[in-house]
């Protein structure tokens, strides 16, 4: 199945991509998507240890399964400060 991944901030600047589609097996979780992403862009291996996973605009857990046409993203710590 096809899963759409949206990339922002450091993920976008390091990979050079803002959006891509990954082919994932049925039953894949957010953790599996992050692994597939790191396979595509080895520079993004830090993602699982730093980011929070998001599915269809909502924070979810790494064990959440994805389904076809889901929109997935990985959220590094946000802007914080001031």
């Amino acid at each position: 199945m096809q899963v759409r991944v949206e990339l922002f901030g450091r993920l976008a600047s390091q990979s050079g991509a803002r959006e891509l589609t990954l082919e994932m097996p049925v039953g894949a979780t957010l953790r599996d998507v992050a692994a597939a992403l790191a396979e595509r862009f080895p520079v993004l291996t830090w993602v699982p240890s730093i980011c929070r996973p998001v599915r269809n605009l909502e924070y979810v857990s790494w064990d959440t399964p994805v389904t076809a046409d889901d929109e997935v993203s990985f959220i590094p710590p946000v802007s914080g400060g001031v």
Partner: protein, 156 residues
């Protein structure tokens, strides 16, 4: 541009300069005796570095959704009308990156509502800033700095 609230909440992500005046007018109301406004402005220095400018990147649909959820939660906890606005793109020194305006009947709750909303926004709304100096740049990820390009060694 005409701004419209949905219920008690207005949210917007924009690349235009921010102006608190229309937001204040938007949330004011006949029984709102207290309006508290927070403006987060670009500082000329951060973590000992001289900042040249900032570049904000957002996961826009999610960020708007989170901002609305924060507004709704705030308005439930402190009866208020509230506006949250965040700018994206390149921001120069002194420019406002974020505005939160809360209008309540009384001042204690207006301060608490505004403070809660900006604190929560800074925790969970997916917006990132890239800090650019004369001779380098980083993504600010919470308390950490993170390299912008793949070639750079992560300093974390």
């Amino acid at each position: 541009m005409k701004l419209c609230m949905q219920g008690a909440v207005f949210v917007q992500i924009t690349s235009d300069p921010l102006d608190p005046a229309p937001l204040m007018r938007l949330v004011e109301g006949p029984d709102m005796g207290a309006v508290v406004t927070f403006s987060g402005n670009v500082r000329n220095q951060n973590r000992g570095r001289e900042v040249q400018y900032l570049e904000y990147d957002a996961y826009r649909p999610m960020a708007e959704r989170e901002m609305r959820a924060i507004g709704e939660e705030t308005a439930t906890r402190w009866p208020c009308r509230i506006a949250l606005q965040h700018r994206v793109g390149r921001l120069e020194l002194g420019e406002a990156s974020v505005l939160v305006v809360a209008a309540c009947a009384h001042r204690a709750e207006a301060f608490e509502a505004c403070r809660f909303a900006i604190d929560t926004l800074k925790e969970r709304v997916p917006i990132w800033k890239r800090e650019v100096w004369q001779d380098g740049e980083v993504w600010i990820e919470g308390a950490a700095d993170a390299p912008v390009s793949a070639g750079t060694d992560a300093s974390r």
